[in-house]
């Protein structure tokens, strides 16, 4: 299972890099979205994958059972997903505004400030 995920993460990073190198703004934004998904998967695998129990401390016990999955990466990934969702919403709104004011989707034509 780790191998499958590792390959998936690699493919996602490759796709994201390809999209980020495009001149079109909207493709670049898609690149960022894919990139953040790849990173989330890295975090998910960081504690190792196992088909164990959910991370609940049993009644009367003081620690997690050894079969339990590590709950921390799940908390991290949740935080990261919420943040990347907010950021993506912002970038999409910004792209629309860029389209309205600059009137192009081509990064090569956005050189008005580089003088």
């Amino acid at each position: 299972m780790e191998l499958v995920l590792a390959i998936t993460i690699g493919v996602l990073f490759a796709v994201a890099s390809f999209l980020l190198l495009r001149r079109s703004v909207i493709k670049m934004i898609f690149g960022i979205a894919v990139l953040s998904q790849a990173v989330h998967l890295v975090i998910l695998t960081s504690a190792g994958l196992k088909t164990g129990a959910v991370a609940f401390v049993e009644e009367g016990a003081t620690a997690l059972p050894p079969t339990a999955a590590d709950p921390l990466p799940q908390a991290l990934i949740l935080t990261a997903i919420v943040i990347s969702f907010g950021v993506l919403a912002f970038t999409l709104a910004m792209t629309q505004r860029v389209d309205e004011t600059v009137g192009t989707d081509d990064l090569d034509e956005m050189k008005g400030t580089d003088v």
Binding site: L20, I32, L35, S46, F90, K111, G112, T113
Partner: protein, 505 residues
């Protein structure tokens, strides 16, 4: 212990108060200024506590240290919070006359406070993932400030700024994932203890490189700085001033944090690479500045070259060099913000940011000329102003024989001196074009452009920052003493680890 959390609660409370007063822009404005003043008091208090009692640490939810999220203030962090508060307050005062009513109505002050919250949080956190979250708080607010107003130039600058910063965040998060996978902890102090035993040196170096890219983009080091001169000159002056002063320095602070606490295994490679990058950063920044004729774009390139000096101090890794870096950080934040604020006043008088179209400011407004002269000469490193002592300590450290890279580091010292000379050249260029030259026929100096009230709000922050620059220059020993103590704490992480992991209360 309360001093720490207070510094985070204050900007959060002011930001929320601003949002509560959404339909009352005038109330937002004064909450904005007053909130910064309270933050300044909180930061002074924190600094006093840390200077007196040593490193302060507190772990959220009363969990023992590696399990809860820690907030830590060592002397470096306390100094940075104090400087951030000074800049926040001066820029908020300047904003009263600089930010138009439309931007105020769309929550300028709320986002200013959210950004300061992110900056202060990044300085005070003791947990690498928490630092990521604070970075995002800071970045997202800075995105909003950058695009607020939605002018064409702003949007063109913003798209580059946003995309490159998001890519760097992805690197940051990947590196956090790898660190957690190998060590099972995210707490800085715990990481400092565990990485050397639990991680293969090669993997540790790879992770270090991921962090170098992530923070390098934010700090604007070579070759990752292109977003900076493409975007920093596009928003209103108050916004670009606080960006120029604070945001890149958060990247530098993060680099200092990880490269003193965690990645000290293969120092010859990691810090050697930092050394080379510092050289390129200094040279590229200053050469880029020479060809510029836009007031703010020229200053943007100088941010990059000055970042090089700070990285140089970090790479050399001796007490004197790191003290130089800390001294450089606070000197640079004050001076650079001030230069941006002055560029805004010059623009008000002449109606342009383009240096070739400016002129005659010295004859018409000698006081502005004097106020420009102080930070400009300080940036160029002329004694007895603050920049001289910052450059002097970094260069002296590179020439001393006690670094890991001696005597090769002396080359970097020579580069630093040459770059200082070119910086001075750039400042003289601004002086000649904007102040000394005869007024341009199309852009005459119009001292009546500012009402008495406006001048008061625009000039007082500039005067305050200039006085700080002169004070640091006149009493460098007092300030350098703190920088040296901060550097010793950075070089001796045991104290930091003890404060976080050691006994409670």
């Amino acid at each position: 212990m309360d001093a720490l959390t207070f510094c985070i609660i204050v900007p959060l409370a002011s930001a929320l108060a601003c949002i509560m007063c959404w339909r009352m822009p005038v109330a937002q404005r004064w909450i904005g200024v007053a909130g910064m003043l309270v933050l300044l008091a909180a930061a002074v208090n924190l600094f006093a506590v840390v200077a007196e009692d040593g490193i302060q640490a507190i772990t959220m939810g009363n969990w023992p240290a590696p399990y809860g999220i820690s907030l830590v203030a060592d002397l470096t962090a306390a100094i940075m919070v104090l400087v951030a508060a000074i800049i926040g307050f001066t820029v908020a005062v300047y904003s009263v006359a600089d930010i138009d009513a439309r931007r105020e109505r769309f929550g300028y002050y709320a986002f200013l406070h959210f950004m300061i919250l992110g900056v202060v949080g990044s300085f005070l956190t003791g947990d690498i993932f928490n630092m990521f979250v604070w970075f995002e708080v800071m970045l997202l607010s800075s995105f909003v400030l950058m695009t607020l107003g939605g002018e064409r130039a702003q949007m063109e600058g913003a798209i580059k700024y946003v995309v490159l910063n998001l890519i760097s965040s992805a690197f940051f998060l990947t590196a956090c994932g790898i660190l957690y996978a190998k060590t099972g902890t995210l707490n800085f102090a715990d990481l400092a203890l565990k990485t050397k035993d639990l991680m293969e040196p090669e993997l540790l170096t790879i992770t270090a490189m991921l962090f170098l890219v992530a923070f390098g983009v934010k700090a604007g080091i070579f070759p990752l700085f292109f977003w900076l001169p493409a975007s920093y000159h596009t928003p209103p002056v108050a916004i670009s001033a606080i960006f120029a002063g604070l945001l890149t320095k958060v990247g530098v602070y993060a680099l200092i944090r990880v490269f003193t606490l965690i990645f000290t295994g293969d120092m010859f490679f990691t810090h050697g690479l930092l050394l080379v990058l510092a050289g390129f950063t200094m040279v590229c920044g200053v050469l880029g500045a020479m060809s510029q004729f836009d007031f703010r774009r020229l200053l943007s390139f100088h941010i990059i070259s000055q970042i090089g000096y700070m990285i140089l101090g970090l790479a050399l890794f001796t007490p004197l060099a790191l003290a130089g870096t800390v001294f450089y950080l606070f000197h640079h934040i004050l001076v650079k913000t001030n230069l941006y604020l002055i560029s805004g006043i010059a623009q008000r008088y002449t109606g342009t940011f383009h240096l070739k179209q400016m002129g005659g400011l010295y004859a018409a407004t000698p006081w502005l000329a004097l106020l420009f002269f102080i930070p400009a000469m300080s940036l160029g490193g002329i004694p007895p102003l603050s920049g001289f002592f910052a450059k002097f300590s970094v260069v002296k450290a590179s020439l001393a024989g006690d670094t890991l890279f001696s005597p090769g580091a002396a080359i970097l010292g020579a580069i630093a001196l040459a770059v200082g000379l070119l910086t001075l050249f750039s400042m003289i260029k601004i002086w000649n074009e904007a102040f000394w030259k005869k007024p341009d026929a199309d852009h005459p100096v119009n001292p009546a452009a500012l009402t008495k009230m406006q001048s008061w709000f625009l000039f007082s922050p500039v005067v305050v920052l200039a006085v700080f620059t002169v004070c640091i220059g006149l009493a460098p020993e007092f300030f350098f003493d703190f920088a040296l103590r901060a550097a010793k704490q950075l070089l001796n992480p045991d104290e930091y680890i003890q404060a976080v992991m050691g006994g409670r209360e």
